[in-house]
């Protein structure tokens, strides 16, 4: 499985070359920091650690300083996000009707914990306090689509492509 960037190039393969290419177009002043972070994020979809290190080196800043700026602005993502966002509800209603079991099943199917992204960058998993569809509990969403009255079997079906992909 090849992991690709938003521009369709493989990410981890030549991250260094791509960074060099980006850096070569900037001044070494601190004013370049935010534009650089933006361009790197645009290229990779997030800010890989080695990119922040490279930017720090280039601008003669410490890695922590670059990290502080990256975490200060909401626009920057420090972890890769998948193409699709899965949210499993942990509200009271869902909880009473077995929401925890659903979450466990989804975790098993995707092989990740909440807050993480599958290795192939297909899915990012999150939990939410309540999605406001308590009548349908237990519930789950994938992007804009809501799934109600979930069962473990249903969850397995929804992510069947994922288990094959792995």
């Amino acid at each position: 499985m090849v992991i690709t960037t938003t521009t369709g190039e493989p990410v981890e393969n030549n991250i260094k070359e791509q960074l060099d290419d980006i850096l070569s177009r900037y001044n070494k002043g601190r004013e370049s920091l935010i534009p650089l972070l933006q361009e790197v994020q645009e290229r990779f979809g997030y800010l890989p650690e080695e990119s922040m290190e490279a930017i720090a080196n280039f601008l003669k800043l410490s890695n922590s300083t670059v990290y502080a700026v990256s975490t200060f602005y909401a626009q920057f993502k420090l972890t890769p996000t998948g193409k699709r966002l899965v949210k499993v509800c942990r509200g009271t209603a869902c909880h009473v009707r077995g929401g925890a079991r659903i979450l466990r099943e989804v975790e098993k199917r995707l092989g990740i914990k909440p807050g993480e992204t599958t290795e192939n960058r297909e899915y990012t998993l999150e939990t939410v306090a309540c999605i406001g569809a308590c009548a349908l509990a237990p519930t789950m969403t994938v992007d804009k689509e809501t799934y109600g009255q979930m069962t473990t079997k249903k969850a397995a079906e929804i992510f069947s492509d994922q288990s094959k992909a792995k």
Partner: protein, 891 residues
């Protein structure tokens, strides 16, 4: 400075121009609550507790960011001001743990103090519970974010004082926290563990792990390096329990590095400290009485002829001790066979600068490095070896100082450099002459300085012809345009300071390297002004002093030659004995003579030549061939293990005396605790041996009396006395009681009159790589260890950072050899082989491997080349040819 007058709470207050309202109030004894201000940090205005009201100003400005002005009328206690403060503190404590009684900061907490001042007695806001991860990874301190009030003092200290920037306030809003790159544990971050953040934290968020409150404190000097930082050692129940930087100290202004702050108490109170004299009985070192040990030493030393004995003194010992040891060697043993480890570090500085300027010491001061418009740091890994001077250099670059780093390795300073010249090890003469050539060719030299203050310029200029830039590029591997850029930077940004260290001196042409630096400084008129100069950074705490005191084979104290009849006469009449006019043996010659059986007896004080000398197997053999070998030390070092008699000396904390730091500042070392066990101060031991051997005038009762004798016989120390040093250090030359000391040398004329340009030729290192030994080994040091590790390796926390040798090699070489990180490898030279772990890093250039010499398990100096500089006799520790092999471990 202009004095201004203002009124605070109806009271007339005087302040100096530039002071803030907060500072003015504090100086007048008026308390204003403040949680984010610090005298060493820029005003921040973050906590908003120091709000005041100023007549004719709107609102409530923060006193820490408001400049005091003439006629200002300030009120610090209005109801509105106190309402704001109370509100602020109530918000701060809303999510503060409030377990004050059991908190390590109880009674010393600034938040507690402020809350008490504002009479806050209950939580008004509901407690917001949060439990943040505690970072326990650093061996010396803990970061518990649950206590943090986000005053950012730690972050600002790491930014403004140390310029490491290991910690920052990351994230935003309610999630804001003090953290490192990637929220990694501090231990895995770039933190250097200096603790400058810890000492400033107002609450219990950053606290030292072994924080014990001292009963009393004594001011003294750090024993770990030549920066000579001032420190207060805290004592409780006969033990050293705390260390605090001394802000009054002019060498360091209160700064300390990891070794000084956290590496002291543990080695002093270490169970392995020698506590009784030992003598060898039936091949085994056994405890004995002082009387027996001293009696034996005296009678055995007396049994040899003058040229059969030698003494090696110690750059860790005080000035008084070094003076006594050389006096004993010369007046009692009757020989000039005395030397110390300066031979291995800065002998070329002493020899080279004496030729060029007339005196061989750092020309300027630690504090004026910040005044330089350009700094050339060549052959010095300043941030590792002289950390507090490293702070100054980095800080200077923040304020616009241009920095040129010349170093084969990618050292910490490279991140701050405008230009990084990556010369091949051992090619510095070519590089420096190349730079000089550009300066002369482009007319950037200081002609009036050269004609008024210097001589022999024409011959020097002629010798530059041999250094065509294309040739220099070929020799050094540095591209021509970089050489030219560095030359222009250094010549046009004046004043320019040159800093250097062992990367320059430890070569078979070390003296030439030093002269090349002196030439360059004279060429640009960079001598005798603040922020300029030639600044050899001395390694050990008192290596400058040991040289000054004449623990050298050719000079008495103050560099007075033993061969000068007038000098000889002076010392003969002062000491009442006949002295030898011929120079004695240097360290390497001492070991050669012992090896050949010509030298029979050695008195070794506070040194560990088995690890510090080149070609260690030769040294071991030499030591074991000695007929009588007495070692005086605080631990049974690898060398002392071979001795016939071992005498337990004391650490710096158990005796009175002085150290002279790298900037020639003589500073007072004070007795903090009594000598441990049955150990004795080193000066006393030597005096007692001398007296047993019939030496006259060794009946000193206190080191201050020794200093009085030094002052009498040493012109540059003539005005120095313990009494004067009570109020602060003095920089030599300080010839009279009234003289204020000399922060900058050669201001109006050179010590030798005119500065002498000396033409140079490039000489390659003695041992160059070849087919059999294709790599260059260069050596250096780590911030977390000191010298041969006798002291620093006794400190557990320092060992956690670095406790084994790591051979650094370039990825390219590693790939060719099939070596990966942490592989066990063998480094082999013509003299021996050493096993250690590999560390693959771009910091090492291709073709070069790097090792330190701190670790007895991987004795790097088995490999190094004893070839010496013909003048300074320093061995070529920085360049030798090696081969590296991977050890295939049986799986």
């Amino acid at each position: 400075m202009k004095i201004i007058r203002l009124t605070i709470n109806g009271q007339g207050v005087e302040a100096r121009q530039g002071m803030t309202v907060l500072e003015a109030a504090q100086e007048a004894g008026i308390y204003i609550p403040a949680l984010c201000s610090d005298p060493d940090l820029e005003p921040y205005g973050g906590c908003r507790l120091c709000v005041v009201e100023v007549e004719k100003m709107r609102g409530q400005p923060t006193a820490c960011t408001t400049l005091a002005t003439d006629g200002m009328v300030v009120h610090t206690e209005t109801p509105e001001v106190n309402r704001i403060r109370r509100n602020t503190v109530e918000l701060l404590i809303a999510d503060h743990p409030m377990d004050c009684l059991t908190c390590i900061k109880n009674q010393r907490c600034e938040l507690q103090k402020v809350a008490a001042y504002l009479s806050i007695s209950e939580r008004r806001f509901p407690r917001t519970d949060r439990s943040l991860p505690i970072d326990n990874s650093n061996p010396f301190f803990t970061l518990d974010r649950n206590y943090c009030i986000l005053c950012a003092k730690c972050v600002r200290a790491c930014d403004e004082i140390t310029v490491v920037n290991a910690i920052e306030i990351v994230d935003r809003g309610y999630e804001s926290r003090v953290s490192t790159f990637g929220d990694k544990p501090l231990f895995e971050s770039i933190c250097q563990s200096c603790g400058e953040c810890v000492v400033r934290c107002p609450v219990a968020a950053l606290v030292a792990k072994d924080a014990i409150q001292p009963m009393r404190e004594v001011e003294t000097i750090c024993p770990y390096c030549g920066v000579g930082c001032g420190m207060y050692l805290g004592i409780r129940d006969g033990r050293i329990v705390s260390v605090r930087g001394s802000r009054e100290n002019q060498a360091s202004n209160g700064r300390l590095c990891v070794k000084g702050r956290y590496g002291i108490a543990e080695f002093i109170h270490h169970p392995e400290r020698l506590s009784a004299p030992l003598i060898r009985r039936n091949g085994k070192l056994t405890e004995t009485s002082w009387d027996e040990a001293l009696g034996l030493v005296a009678s055995r030393l007396a049994s040899y002829s003058k040229d059969q004995v030698a003494v090696i003194s110690s750059a860790k010992c005080t000035n008084e001790e070094n003076y006594i040891i050389q006096k004993f060697t010369r007046a009692v043993l009757g020989t000039n066979n005395i030397d110390h480890c300066a031979r291995l570090c800065h002998a070329p500085s002493v020899a080279g600068l004496a030729q060029s300027f007339g005196s061989g010491a750092m020309t300027n001061s630690n504090s004026d490095i910040g005044d330089a418009a350009c700094i050339l740091a060549i052959g010095t890994n300043t941030t590792e070896t002289h950390p507090v001077i490293g702070f100054n250099v980095k800080k200077a670059t923040r304020k616009g100082t241009r920095l040129i780093v010349a170093n084969p390795r990618q050292i910490g300073l490279v991140r701050f450099a405008d230009v990084w010249l990556r010369q091949r090890p051992g090619t510095d003469v070519a590089l420096l002459m190349g730079i000089a050539k550009v300066i002369v060719d482009e007319g950037l030299h200081d002609s009036s300085f050269i004609s008024e203050r210097c001589e022999n310029f024409d011959a020097f200029k002629e010798s530059l012809k041999g250094f065509d830039l294309s040739l220099v590029e070929k020799i050094t591997g540095v591209p021509q345009n970089q050489i030219a850029e560095a030359a222009r930077l250094y010549a046009t940004n004046r004043p320019g300071a040159i800093l250097y260290s062992m990367g320059i001196t430890q070569h078979s042409h070390g003296t030439d390297n030093v002269i090349a630096i002196a030439n360059l400084a004279m060429l640009t008129g960079n001598i005798g002004k603040p922020g300029s100069g030639v600044n050899p950074l001395r390694g050990q705490n008192n290596v400058q002093g040991a040289c000054d005191m004449g623990a050298l084979p050719n000079v008495y104290s103050g560099y007075q030659p033993v061969s000068d009849p007038k000098v000889k006469e002076k010392f003969e009449s002062a000491w009442g004995s006949t002295l030898s006019p011929t120079a004695g043996l240097t360290i390497s010659e001492i070991f050669d003579a012992a090896y050949q059986g010509k030298l029979k007896a050695l008195y070794l004080v506070g040194e560990n030549p088995l690890l510090s000398e080149p070609d260690a197997s030769h040294v071991r053999e030499a030591l074991s061939r000695l007929d009588f070998f007495v070692a005086q030390d605080i631990f049974l070092s690898e060398s002392a293990e071979l001795a016939h008699v071992v005498l337990p000396g004391t650490t710096f904390a158990e005796k009175e005396g002085t150290f002279t730091n790298t900037e020639r500042r003589v500073q007072r070392v004070r007795k903090v605790i009594e000598p441990l066990g049955n150990s004795r101060a080193d000066w006393l031991i030597t005096c007692q041996i001398a007296q047993l051997m019939g030496g006259k005038d060794f009946d000193f009762e206190h080191p201050s009396q020794i200093m009085d004798e030094i002052a009498q016989l040493t012109p540059s120390y003539g005005g120095i006395s313990f009494e004067r040093l009570e109020t602060g250090g003095l920089q030599w030359p300080c010839p009279t009681k009234e003289h204020p000391g000399t922060p900058i040398l050669h201001t109006t004329k050179f010590t030798r009159g005119k500065g002498k340009f000396i033409p140079l030729e490039y000489k390659p290192s003695v041992e160059l790589p070849d087919d059999e030994y294709p790599l260059v080994l260069t050596t250096g040091r780590s911030i977390f260890q000191y010298h041969t590790g006798t002291m620093s390796r006794k400190v557990k926390g320092l060992n956690i950072f670095k406790n084994e040798e790591q051979v650094e090699l370039n990825p390219e070489d590693a790939r060719k050899l099939g070596i990966a990180d942490d592989d066990t490898i063998k480094v082999i030279s013509r003299r021996g082989e050493v096993t250690a772990k590999a560390r693959v890093t771009e910091a090492s250039p291709a073709g070069v491997v790097f090792m330190t010499f701190h670790f007895a398990e991987s004795p790097t100096n088995l490999l190094t080349n004893p070839a010496v500089d013909p003048i300074a006799k320093i061995p070529e520790l920085k360049v030798c040819a090696v081969r590296v092999e991977k050890i295939v471990q049986p799986s």
